[in-house]
């Protein structure tokens, strides 16, 4: 009997292995399908670059109404309806800084001459010189198309395709999903700033360890974490 122990054991092992009783369960997590907007190269704004206003399914030319009215007094800082425009352009609070006073189908340059509606960059360039220079050289604003202009057209995006001229700061956007790599483990979605290797975190007030310590000891009244600029 004893000589047959080894073969029997090996045959048992063969049987167990052949039966594949423990199939492989892949740890791969199928991430949710990427949202379509996440790979969409469309710009954030789609200006018509024409002096039009769509109102109640009819498209008016700016001059249609504005030829009937005179220029507004200088003391009116914001435009009202029917445009619904809220002007928050920093210290540029006067409509006629950009818009031609008599011909509303055009903009105005520094000498009172007209700038056509489809060349808005010349208007922005009146004040934003360094950005305009960068834009002309391609360092500001997006370039689509071809880097090699001998093989195809280079398409530069114009100012108003990203910036609302009346509220120019680029608006915050939604964020596309974070990475979900293999066996990633639990990852924090919030920025953790515990390790004080960054001196800025020590010296900024009221955020930082110093302020937290002072707050904890009761010597400083609690303030909002992020300070006044949100």
């Amino acid at each position: 009997m004893r000589p047959f122990l080894v073969p029997v054991t090996l045959l048992l092992l063969a049987g167990v292995l052949w039966s594949q009783r423990w199939p492989f369960h892949s740890p791969v997590v199928v991430p949710p399908a990427a949202p379509a907007w996440a790979s969409d190269p469309a710009t954030v704004r789609h200006p018509t670059l024409r002096p039009d206003l769509k109102l109640a399914s009819y498209t008016y030319r700016c001059s249609t109404c504005h030829n009937l009215f005179g220029p507004p007094p200088d003391s009116a800082p914001t435009a009202r309806s029917p445009h619904g425009i809220v002007l928050k352009h920093g210290i540029n609070a006067r409509c006629l800084n950009c818009h031609h006073p008599t011909n509303r189908d055009a903009f105005v340059d520094d000498w009172g001459r007209e700038i056509p509606y489809n060349e808005p960059y010349r208007v922005c360039a009146k004040c934003h010189g360094p950005v305009y220079r960068d834009w002309l050289h391609g360092a500001h604003g997006r370039t689509n198309g071809y880097w090699n202009t001998e093989m195809g057209p280079r398409e530069r995006r114009r100012c108003v395709e990203c910036h609302d001229p009346h509220q120019p700061p680029f608006p915050p956007m939604r964020v596309a999903p974070p990475p979900l790599t293999l066996r990633m483990g639990k990852q924090a979605t919030q920025m953790e700033r515990p390790e004080v290797r960054n001196p800025l975190q020590i010296y900024r007030q009221p955020a930082g360890e110093r302020a937290a310590a002072e707050r904890a000891s009761g010597s400083v009244a609690p303030e909002s974490e992020t300070g006044k600029v949100k």
């Binding site: 689509n144 964020v175 596309a176 990475p179 293999l182 290797r197």
Partner: protein, 339 residues
């Protein structure tokens, strides 16, 4: 009765050993042999689940390294790849092998004053380059950086706020920097990865043996490995392919960003540049003094990541000389100085 050969004492041997085999001995030895062979066969049994496309073929064995292929070889290989992609995804691809353009060295510049961390570049790249979706492979990783620090150790890769940019953060996307002194090229034992004349570091996916030494060597964590068979939905497959860039890979090989080689060698922009909503990404030929990137390298404040390692990357981060984003515009001042 001759002694069986099972228990051979290690003392003085017999002078004449008769090789008499008893029936018991024959049966036990035969049983042991059969049991051994069947155990080995059973151990090899998972191979019956091997995907037919994965089996080694003579064609694959004889395929040469990309640099040694004649144009006829390349044509045959491109045909084979097109056939395989069509069989698997039911989409007829256009697999090309665009040669490098002369007098071109590609450089990438990224404006960290403008990047808001929306990750659209990540997903545009995924759509363009056919990496696996499950397990997920993304060539671009956007780092949310803590204000005041350039140390990537404090960065967050998994930020997911309702809106970006978040307060007191700046964002630094990282992808393959196509370094001038690439450590990955230095360490590859089979020369499956090398740098092309236009500066792009490429991988021959049919040559890579999957040792992952390049992944360990890369200081920017730019290289990805296919741990499992890549899963790409057929409707999301980009049929405009090239041998060295975005044709579908198999499991067990490395891949990485190739600056969308199939686009840039035809004069177009990479997918990440074209999708960026803020225009933070700039790409071009640094040997052309009129290109966008030449202007940036001349006029802007550029820096590179991990300069101390000496890889000489062709990827520059720059920032504008004035303030970056305003979250609240300055309150307007009226003519009388009142707010």
């Amino acid at each position: 009765m001759a002694p069986t050969s099972e228990h051979e004492p290690l003392g003085p041997p017999d002078e004449q050993r008769s090789p008499a085999l008893t029936r018991r001995g024959f049966l036990s030895k035969g049983a042991a042999t059969i049991a051994g062979v069947s155990a080995v066969a059973a151990a090899l049994s998972p191979l019956r689940n091997l995907d037919p496309a994965d089996r080694p073929t003579l064609e694959k064995l004889l395929q040469k390294h990309y640099k040694e292929m004649t144009p006829e070889d390349k044509q045959r290989v491109l045909e084979r790849i097109a056939r395989q992609v069509e069989a698997r995804y039911h989409v007829r691809p256009d697999v090309q092998d665009p040669p490098p353009l002369k007098g071109v060295e590609f450089v990438y510049a990224l404006n960290i004053s403008r990047c808001i961390g929306c990750r659209k570049c990540v997903y545009a790249c995924v759509k363009e380059n056919n990496p696996s979706r499950a397990p997920e492979i993304q060539y671009i990783r956007v780092l949310q950086m803590e204000k005041g620090s350039i140390d990537v150790e404090g960065s967050n890769h998994h930020y997911d706020p309702p809106q970006v940019p978040e307060h007191d953060s700046f964002y630094m996307p990282v992808q393959c920097h196509q370094c001038s002194k690439p450590p990955c090229v230095k360490v590859c034992p089979v020369e499956a990865t090398w740098q092309e004349p236009d500066g792009i570091t490429v991988i021959d996916y049919d040559w890579c043996i999957g040792c992952r030494y390049c992944e360990a060597a890369c200081p920017y964590w730019a290289r990805r490995f296919n741990f499992a068979e890549p899963q790409v939905p057929a409707e999301e497959l980009n049929p405009d392919m090239a041998y060295l860039s975005n044709r579908p890979r198999t499991k067990g090989v490395m891949e990485k960003c190739t600056y969308c080689l199939h686009r840039v060698r035809r004069g177009r922009m990479p997918a990440c540049v074209e999708v960026c909503p803020t225009g933070s990404r700039k790409f071009g030929n640094v040997l052309d003094p009129d290109s966008e990137v030449s202007y940036i390298l001349r006029e802007k404040r550029v820096y590179i990541l991990k300069q101390d390692i000496g890889t000489l990357p062709r990827f520059f981060y720059y920032f504008d000389e004035r303030g970056s984003r305003y979250h609240e515009p300055i309150a307007p001042v009226g003519p009388g100085g009142r707010t």
